[in-house]
Symmetry: C2
Subunit: 183 residues, 2 copies
């Protein structure tokens, strides 16, 4: 059985700062004919499970326009142009900008967030040995963030209430429960 | 500290079958001025961690155009128009179409896949008491799928090799490791 879908034509529908939208005409394998694929191309991102010496998890409270709600998430940020190959530096930058900490990083997972239509790939790191940076790099101008440090039980409670509702954060918390939290 | 971003203007950039793209002009809180938000609106989806009586996990092998690669994932599918409020039925339909099984379902999590720019919400179910349907509903015309049943260790190996690289599947496997697999 063949799986590959060959691109016959790509039609770019939108080019933004965050993502590009295309519709591809594809040739299906196994003589199944043609189909259309609506696609989002994204530069990728990093996310950080940052754990303090007393096993608290650093959580960022922020407003998310896509869902019109406040959300509690692990620190994260988009890769900027040219940052591929130096994702660890991007993760250190985001951690410093959002939380004021620097740390030792360890890659946990690389994954696609919405593989059915989007190529956004997130690299999820664990950060330990956190140290406060004296004069941390400032946040982006349009970011309004509040930082809290929570235990695993408090985070699990926020999943139940729906305040934690994003995939990367739930994934990071489950990793924590499987390893550090399960000590 | 205020967090909410008020929409001043919404500009629809693309309306597809799978998602709609908009750019919002927003008023930032705390007198920070204005910003633009690129947004994807999606109808939502369901995903199913289906576990056989001998603790194998049902995995779907398929081609994903957004990443131009074959991917191994738990069964999943988009909600169709008007399916909100009956997500469980949608999950049963997807499970039957993709795997030929019906089952007892239990909601594990609801989460946003790419909360920074997209409102796609996935409801992740656990399916147990799997029973083969005599004449299952057919797959969509443009879907080429292969079904495999794998143990947790085999799945964890596929994460390492990168064949399993999507967020919902990694989350489901972690859940399995924390509960059933950890028995």
């Amino acid at each position: 059985m063949d799986f590959e879908e060959k691109t016959l034509k790509r039609d770019i529908k939108f080019e933004g700062h965050i993502f590009t939208v295309a519709v591809d005409d594809v040739e299906l394998p196994n003589n199944l004919g043609q189909a259309k694929r609506e696609l989002i191309f994204h530069k990728g991102a990093v996310a950080i499970l940052a754990v303090t010496p007393d096993d608290k998890i650093i959580i960022v409270k922020q407003y998310r326009k896509a869902i019109e709600k406040i959300s509690y998430e692990i620190p994260a940020g988009k890769l900027e142009v040219g940052e591929h190959g130096s994702e660890t530096e991007a993760a250190l930058r985001e951690l410093e900008e959002e939380t004021g900490y620097t740390a030792a990083l360890n890659l946990l997972y690389e994954f696609y967030t919405a593989i059915g239509f989007c190529n956004e790939k997130i690299r999820l790191y664990m950060a330990t040995d956190l140290v406060k940076v004296p004069n941390p790099r400032p946040k982006d101008d349009d970011e309004v963030l509040e930082i809290v440090e929570l235990g695993l039980d408090e985070c699990l409670e926020l999943i139940k209430t729906g305040d934690i509702c994003d995939a990367k954060t739930i994934m990071a918390l489950q990793y924590f429960a499987l390893t550090v939290g399960g000590k």
